[in-house]
Amino acid sequence: MERNKLRSIIFSHINKNILLFFGLSIVLFFIIVAIFAPFIATYDPAVTNMQAIFLPPNATHYFGTDDIGRDVFSRVVYGTRISLFVGFIAVGISLIIGIILGLASGYYGGRVDSIIMRFTDIMLSFPTFFLILAVIAFLKPSLVNVMVVIGLTGWMGVARLVRAEVMSVKNREYITAAKLQGLSHKKIMFKHILPNVLSPIFVTATLSIAGAILLESSLSFLGLGVQPPTPSWGNILTDGQNNIINAWWLSCFPGLAIVFTALGYNLLGEGLRDLLDPKNKKENN
């Protein structure tokens, strides 16, 4: 293929999916920041310096310093690790529960299906935020509890999605063939059905990560999220709220980090949905 033609094809794809590429870049950017946090941060995020409190952004403190002289830039960089970690683990927990319940529900059908789906409906009828707050009120706010509770209250969408997908593939010939070969139910579910339903799950997971990061920040705002001194975007932002008038930089940068990340995961998720949807394929090519 001619070079120019190739280039124009690539560009027309990027142009058509510009929001997808935008989202992907943001997501990758923050993942890199999280991985290389120790190399990117210019100060130790925990070190206080009473000689340098409430400094506005400058050449040495890119994002300024907070009320006890910690470097906000370094805290936001390390907060990336915690916030993404919360997002990934919480969504991981939701995915495991949702996939197992969804597979069982769709594959076995009948009574198993109706029990699991009733349970899903019940969980869906709780205002999730109330449920999370109530559980955290009874337990203690900590990094682990926050991740687990967000994960345990977020699997319902995944379960419904997996169930629907399983029901649409379980009567295909290759599944019947696998059954005739005498494969175990477990093997058929995880080896033959699951790989075929992965792409919509991936889209949902991407969207959920944004939701989990936002939930952690809301919990932090209420003082029930990841507890200081561990820096998460949520609790850095919350610390900054009290000084929003005289030190805007304290809440501005962690807030923007959350906005960009959540936006990034959403655009990526929506873009992937359009891309993976076979209905759109004909128009796109």
Partner: protein, 328 residues
């Protein structure tokens, strides 16, 4: 229709039982004994109060019996006394605040519908245009902004810096009684602008994306082509033919958005000091006022059930295929 309504009402009973079981599990999450924690809360709570708490939840009895005892009380909306020491029952406390939260959420839902739906329809009609992409980005920013952050920023900017709007509360405490009727309406409206606007901005994404998808599907239908062939104007096709059919699935989304809205009332009501159920919930969480927490958890879930029921009935009313199908 009557048959369908009855069927849906009956289906709510097992849901209610399931909800209470989950709430019951939450009570038992407390490390150690719930009664122990109660006793640890401070010396001013006497032994008799502790005994009362144990009796209320029947903590000395086997689990199943405890649950049934509790369920009997919950069935008549008796959640016991609040721990706050003001001598009020949980039901009284929630009752004083419930209507504020419900009214606020209904108001927010109205605007979400009013703004989100046309945005979605326009987005679909001008698919892949700059307009479509801008709408997508704007509604997603609304979703991506931490609501409490936006609320605090707007509060400082509009209420303190510019002084255009009142800072917090539901109405101006000292002047309210002396106002005329329209003055009162204006006063409450001024207090509600920020909380409702921010809540709406944060929730536009769900409904407008959904409306976009369902409009896209409808626009490919044959009857739209037929309408075009008959020379009906584009705006009429869009807003009268397409919109009406794209509207149906959106009703379900409204039902599904209820838990999120009710949940976020915790944030809004605590920032803007609105004396609703969310604020009560947050205060109860901080004070470990377990009876109130449980009460609001149950009531919140019931509100969601009720909202879903209304959405389902509205859907069935609008679409006879649902009403008469076996699945019901």
């Amino acid at each position: 229709m009557l048959q369908y309504t009855l069927k849906r009402l009956l289906a709510m009973i097992p849901m209610f039982i399931g909800i209470t079981i989950i709430c019951f599990i939450v009570i038992h999450l407390a490390p150690g004994d719930a009664a122990e924690i109660r006793a640890n809360m401070g010396a001013k709570y006497s032994e008799t109060a502790r005994a009362k708490f144990e009796a209320m939840y029947g903590l000395d009895k086997p689990l199943i019996e405890q649950y049934i005892l509790w369920l009997k009380k919950v069935a008549v909306l008796d959640f016991g006394d609040s721990f706050a020491g003001d001598g009020k029952t949980v039901t009284e406390k929630i009752g004083q605040r419930l209507h504020i939260t419900v009214a606020l959420n209904l108001l927010a839902m109205f605007f979400i519908f009013l703004i989100g739906l046309p945005l979605g329809v326009l987005s679909a009609y001008y698919q892949n245009s700059i307009l479509d992409k801008s709408i997508t980005v704007i509604v997603f920013i609304g979703f991506a902004v931490p609501t409490f952050w936006l609320a605090v920023i707007c509060m400082y900017y509009f209420s303190i810096y510019l002084g255009w709007l009142p800072i917090s509360g539901l109405y101006s405490e000292y002047l309210y009684d002396s106002m005329t009727f329209w003055g009162k309406v204006k006063d409450i409206a001024a207090h509600l602008v920020l909380p409702v606007a921010i809540s709406v901005f944060g929730s536009l994404a769900g409904i407008s994306r959904f409306a976009r998808t369902s409009t896209l599907e409808v626009l490919n239908e044959d009857y739209i082509t037929a309408a075009r062939a008959r020379g009906i104007s584009e705006s009429k096709i869009l807003f009268s033919h397409a919109l009406r059919n794209a509207l149906l699935p959106v009703i379900t989304i409204l039902g599904l958005s209820i838990p999120g809205l009710i949940g976020s009332s915790v944030i809004f009501e605590s920032i803007f000091s609105i004396p609703g159920m969310g604020q009560l919930f947050y205060n109860s969480v901080l004070m470990r006022d377990y009876p109130v927490i449980m009460g609001i958890l149950v009531i919140g879930a019931l509100l969601t059930l009720l909202g879903n029921l209304i959405a389902d009935l509205a859907y069935a009313y609008a679409d006879p295929r649902i009403r008469y199908s076996k699945k019901g």
